[in-house]
């Protein structure tokens, strides 16, 4: 078990550092996957690191999310184009979020903040 929210980020264009900064600003741990095809490795790294959720960037956002779903059964949403759409997906229980290319701090920060809120709410309800 880990206390901090752990977020895996895979960007096919080799980016993701700004999103990672946002995750860390919100108190989370960010793991940015390096190299080619990083988006398609999000599920593998989430599984290995026992991460809370993952963010895949690949243009359509589909490849990373669908690979994670097929290999590990993670609930996914893809084709996301805004922070709000990502937050809604998290609230619906999705754990791998596939976006177009959006390497911005605000995305990482707000998704992590939302996930922390969701966890707190779940703990209260138990």
């Amino acid at each position: 078990m880990h206390d901090k929210v752990k977020v895996v980020i895979g960007d096919r264009l080799g980016k993701g550092q700004k999103v990672a900064k946002g995750v860390e600003e919100a108190g989370g741990i960010a793991i940015v996957i390096p190299g080619v095809g990083a988006d398609m490795k999000v599920g593998d790294v989430m599984n290995k690191e026992n991460a809370d959720f993952g963010i895949a960037f690949c243009g359509s956002g589909g490849a990373g999310a669908l690979t994670a779903q097929t290999k590990y059964g993670y609930p996914v949403e893809y084709g996301l184009r805004s922070i709000e759409a990502g937050i809604t997906a998290l609230r619906e229980g999705k754990r791998v979020l596939g976006f177009g290319f959006m390497d911005i701090e605000e995305l990482g920060r707000r998704l992590t903040e939302e996930y922390i809120k969701l966890i707190k709410r779940e703990n209260k309800d138990v």
Partner: protein, 132 residues
Amino acid sequence: MDEVKETLKEVIEEISKKEKITEKEREELFELLRLVKLNEKDGKFSFSFNRLVLIGYHLLAFIKRLETNEKLPPVEPGLWNEISPEVKKLSIEVLQKYVQRFKKELDETEIFLLAVHFEASKIKCVGGKNNA
């Protein structure tokens, strides 16, 4: 050939469960996927149904980006080093014909994005035998 046609139609059906596809986009997607699938012939690549679905989602997004003139960010330096020249050439071949029809320029980032799918579809040879 009919078998390939049927497979590609099923792939597009699968994609259309989630994405809205116009009749024109459906035809264009079929043609692009056919060009991708043709590269299986020389035994260097293998495109499973699931892989074709992923590539199909990607190509549909590419078609839509071309329609709206959406530009993508550049590829981070160094990533091209992990793409073989052969794969880069194939990616260009698939996309170039399509882009030329619309009298548009083929973007380097688009070449890279599809090339990653080709790299992921390479058949790795272990002990002289194909190990897909």
